[in-house]
Symmetry: C2
Subunit: 499 residues, 2 copies
């Protein structure tokens, strides 16, 4: 059995066509964030809905199911790349066809209204305005999980859409150990940060200089600007518009260059992954990122393990001074301390490397409890505030700084948050392994040489696409399944905490 | 019969869906010129081909023909807007379905190769490299004309695709009178320009100041930036990405602000037309520009009849001085003289208002003769050079400055050029009529007030979309069919030539 098998080739062609349309949608979405004139919004929304529907219809057509079945019956060598494509096509087909069209449409309708309600609720910090919408979305998510099917928890059915093969029960084991250990690191880390004022680096950093410096660093990491670009948006993101066209975005604060820089380091990590996927497989699972958690491992690795490592400013401080002469008053260690400052905050997206995962663990617990019917939506704010206080010591006084802060739930996205923490854990685990296998790594990083690290990631992660489920991919790359040990070891080392 | 008639509503829906896809293609095309990373090119081309094919298949489906037939049989009031939609849907359906798919595909294949051959031929100024490709394209265009059908000349079948209802024989009558009269205007106009050096305005005009000034003028004309934007590209253009989203582009020369400015005045004319089309009809003929010739009349009107009128610099000179202090050394009349300088050039796109149409008339004659089999491709350069010398007095020494200068023929586009001259003629005719109907027009223009002129164009041209064929539209707007008189009168007045 090989790639010339008729139904396999038809699936490849269909997947390619869908990628062509999906790429157009990506550009329409990117443009809506970067340059679209405001009056174009309504038509743009109609366009995205139409193209999305078209791609969905094209993939859920009966013939597609027939081709997949024929491939399964024909029996590709289970170790072959083709078998991986067939496995993932089956997954995607089942997930897409198991949901009745009426449910999908109802979901879309309620989402649209819920998002607006959430905006208003957050603005006024009034949970009651969002509550009935979240109740509806929760109910729809339960029905979705029932349609998709699950063995233990309805949460698994949703989680699996973002992180193939992940299960709530297994996550809980890892996350629980993480929670306990972070609690022990947090105090000493905060103490260590006490000598670094939060506004240490505040100054005047012209946008053009920020853009130039960001570009220089992303280029040094290996981001290929002949196949990508950087633009400004309200929220940073990375999107792939097509083969050879991956775009990063960031946002700027004139008084704080690290605000745009660390976004770019993060997004460049995503972009390097996208640029490292096998181009000839574009549009098929083999040419697609393994999961959100694996994607996030790449962004976190470059952002935190490269960008927040002391070696980073050792190399980049003199170069940064050319762009921002005001930085000459600092030593590299001060910059490192500033970008590693630990202090709990209410807002997840502003949180430091130690407390970040506490924000995620809280959301994970609440999502699971709500889906399993153990927590009523009405009790969400109290549950949030209690747990948050226990985890961080901070008392939430406004729901806009608490359970209303993220957009995700208003989009009906439950089961997504854990991928952020999986990303953190995998990043640390990959970096530890890369260091162990490449003894010269630290010396290279201190010289701003990233080729070897990137080549290692290309080899262990990028080139495989979705060849292996994420857990297996990490096992193969690092010799162990995803765990908290490497991440905790890294935090302990960084903040001088003994284990 | 009304708009609730089933087949009519189905056509509206189908047209809307095609507009959604076509708008995505527009954005993909715009992005390819403005910001796409070079490595994205191959995928982008595949995307555009796929979406184009999809739109074509969607429109040429048998059901569409059935719905059109049902509308025709049902008999809308011929004077109703619905009847105009049905008329144009029929035109578009017939043109799309009369061409066999094999011919369309062959055309695409040969075009792609021909364009590359043309680039090389122009670079080396070696017509022989392009000749075999043009021969093939000519042959395919003849077959295309045969498929589409025509009464007198195969040229009509092609021309009709750009300018519904236009016929070569009728154009020739208008164009011949134009040619003779321009010949009489050219000498005196050149003499009048002799005192204005070609580099009079050369200076240093920072790009940011050019952008700001261009934006200010386009905004004053009435271009709505909440529904549009301006970007930089190699060749200026105007494109509509969707309802409420019309984009202009221009290019810049640091030493000559008029280079970008007059492109923007031109493209803003196109943009004002697009923004004036009835939004609720977007995607149907009633919401679509009447023809290329009508479109060009709008761009030429704002570029030449507003932007090159003495009133323009009377108002804008002091404002321009704020952006470009170096302009303070001129009087407004000098700026007017500079942007109206007449001197024949080899290159159409660099030519002045008097000689521009000579370039078009030459191309028109050659296209007709080639299509009617009266001129062999091999004889094209000699024919070009002879006629060009007779028309302008300039002797072509390199085909790159002669018959190889334009991209159009390498794209297989024959029958397109005349729409440029139709645009010039219609622009003058519309402007004369607007002036006659609005006695305060010149005073308004001198004050930089364009509301009344735009309102008049909205009323006479924009709001009708494709309600009337272009000839009828001009007849209704100006009281006469398209002719050369107004254009010639305008040139004579401008250059002080008595008729």
């Amino acid at each position: 059995m090989n790639t010339s098998f008729g139904p396999y080739r038809k699936l490849q062609k269909r997947a390619r066509q869908i990628a062509l349309v999906a790429g157009a949608s990506e550009l329409l979405g990117w443009d809506a964030e970067t340059g679209m004139p405001p009056a174009g919004l309504a038509f743009r929304a109609e366009q995205l809905a139409f193209l999305g529907g078209q791609a969905h219809r094209s993939w859920t057509a009966g013939v597609v199911g027939g081709w997949i079945k024929a491939c399964e019956d024909a029996g590709f060598d289970p170790a072959s790349p083709e078998a991986a494509n067939v496995r993932e096509w089956r997954r995607a087909y089942d997930r897409a066809t198991k949901l009745p069209a009426a449910l999908v449409e109802k979901f879309e309708r309620i989402r649209a209204v819920a998002r607006e309600a959430w905006r208003k609720a957050r603005e006024r910090s009034e949970f009651a305005l969002f509550r009935p919408h979240l109740e509806k979305l929760l109910d729809l998510n339960r029905r979705k999980a029932d349609c998709l099917g699950f063995a233990e928890s309805p949460y698994d059915a949703l989680l699996d859409g973002y992180e193939p093969g992940a299960r709530a029960a297994r996550l809980r084991v890892v996350f629980d150990s993480l929670k306990a250990e972070i609690g022990l690191i947090l105090g000493p880390a905060m103490e260590r940060s006490a000598g670094t004022p939060s506004d240490l680096l505040q100054g005047n950093y012209p946008l053009a200089a920020q853009m130039a410096f960001n570009r220089e660093v992303a280029g040094a990491f290996g981001f290929d600007f002949s196949a990508g670009r950087i633009d400004a948006t309200t929220h940073p993101f990375c999107c792939t518009v097509g083969a050879g066209d991956c775009r990063l975005t960031t946002r700027y604060r004139e008084n704080d260059f690290t605000y745009s820089l660390y976004s770019i380091l993060h997004e460049a990590g995503h972009g390097l992954y996208e640029q490292g996927l096998p181009a000839e497989q574009f549009g098929t699972p083999l040419g697609t990122a393994a999961s959100l958690g694996i994607h996030e491992s790449q962004s976190r690795l470059w952002e935190n393990h490269v960008g927040r490592d002391p070696s980073f400013w050792e190399h980049w401080h003199p170069i940064a001074c050319r762009h921002f002469p005001g930085l000459e008053r600092f030593r590299p260690e001060q910059l490192t301390a500033a970008v590693n400052r630990v202090a709990p905050t209410f807002i997840r997206t502003e949180s430091d490397q130690v407390t970040y995962d506490l924000h995620i663990l809280l959301r994970f617990e609440i999502e699971v409890e709500m889906l399993e019917g153990r927590l009523a939506v009405a009790d969400l704010p109290a549950r949030w505030n209690d747990t948050f206080a226990r985890l961080t010591g901070l008392k939430v006084s406004r729901d806009s700084e608490g359970c209303l802060q993220d957009i995700h739930w208003s989009l009906g996205d439950l089961g997504y948050f854990p991928t952020y923490t999986l990303g953190n854990l995998n990043a640390a685990q990959l970096m530890a392994r890369a260091r162990a296998e490449q003894p010269g790594m630290d010396a290279s990083l201190a010289k701003g040489e990233y080729t070897a690290l990137l080549a290692w990631l290309r080899d262990r992660i990028h080139r495989h696409g979705l060849r292996y489920p994420p857990d297996e991919l990490i096992q193969r790359a690092t010799g162990e399944p995803t765990g908290a040990a490497a991440h905790l070891a890294c935090l302990r080392r960084k903040f001088g905490v003994s284990s």
